[in-house]
């Protein structure tokens, strides 16, 4: 059955974006209703799953906009550091764990996700859409009503902060 087949992954996407079970269920329900109403507009040019993915992400973004925004935290201390000559201050990396090494451990994957959650909302949502849901920068800009330049600035700040937060994982200190 259509709903049974697609609910699990749609709920998973909605939970990742909204971080709230009840809100995720509401958004998926709205996504299904929207899909049922608009099924005649589905032109078959994209896979059905891609079409549903777009709808559920849209519904989640509407829910996020409607919800009270988290206040923006100060990310400055997590940003790259430079000396007075504008040279980067970066400790040497004798070891940088491979993505395979990190992702094969459930515990480390959990640390990665927890740290993504710790990002202020305006950075987290862009990182989520761009790097995890695999939207293009232009698509993210369109969905959020931002300029592409703004999306890139926020994406870069989010990734930079996350890199700093994940250094113990990347350096293999938690393995």
């Amino acid at each position: 059955m259509f709903v049974r087949q697609h609910s699990p992954w749609m709920l998973s996407v909605a939970r990742r974006i909204l971080r709230d079970n009840a809100a995720a269920e509401d958004s998926v329900q709205e996504a299904f209703l929207s899909a049922f109403t608009n099924i005649d507009k589905f032109e078959g040019r994209s896979a059905l799953k891609t079409w549903l993915h777009r709808i559920v992400v849209n519904k989640c973004l509407m829910a996020l906009r409607a919800s009270k925004r988290k206040s923006e935290e100060q990310l400055d201390e997590l940003m790259p550091q430079f000396d007075s000559n504008n040279c980067r201050i970066e400790d040497p990396w004798p070891q940088l764990l491979s993505a395979d090494k990190i992702c094969e451990q459930k515990q480390l994957r959990a640390v990665v996700l927890e740290n993504i959650d710790r990002l202020p909302e305006k950075f987290r949502i862009i990182l989520q859409l761009r790097d995890i849901e695999e939207f293009s920068t232009a698509e993210v800009a369109k969905e959020l009503g931002l300029s592409q330049a703004n999306v890139k600035v926020r994406l870069h700040r989010g990734r930079s902060a996350l890199k700093k937060m994940l250094e113990p994982v990347l350096r293999g200190h938690l393995s």
Binding site: V3, R4, S7, P8, W9, L11, S12, R15, R16, E25, V28, Q29, F32, L33, F36, T37, P80, F82, N85, N86, C87, R88, I89, E90, P92, W93, L96, L97, S98, A99, I102, C103, L108, R109, V112, L113, I116, L127, Q128, D131, I132, E134, T137, K152, V153, L155, H156, R159, S160, L162, K163, L166, E167, V169, L170
Partner: protein, 106 residues
């Protein structure tokens, strides 16, 4: 081949090169170019200058490698739920609510 030879010479200057040689940028300027470099939005000349800096700067090389690893790890960890086939069960109430709402809508 010529270009690789040139980069090798530049590399031999080490980090001092960014202060004395033409087409050199600082780490801070490198930082400003980084996202456009990864998005493929730099012109050929900008890309060359960016990679020239990468050649002479250990700190920026390390930084970029770790940054790219974060992007890769985020994508994989973020999608691991589906790969593990460990999606949480869908509550029956939820399915019934969707189907009921659909009936009402008709």
């Amino acid at each position: 081949m010529k270009r690789l030879g040139f980069l090798k010479v530049i590399g031999s200057f080490g980090k001092k090169a960014m202060f004395y040689l033409p087409m050199m940028i600082t780490c801070r300027q490198f930082e400003d170019f980084l996202i456009d470099y990864l998005e493929g939005d730099l012109s050929a000349r900008q890309k060359f200058v960016f990679e020239l800096h990468l050649k002479v700067c250990r700190e920026c090389r390390d930084y970029l490698a770790a940054y790219k690893r974060v992007v890769e790890v985020s994508a994989r960890a973020g999608n691991a739920g589906e790969m593990d086939a460990s999606l949480p069960p869908v509550p029956t109430d939820f399915i019934n609510a969707v189907l009921a709402a659909r009936k009402q809508g008709k």
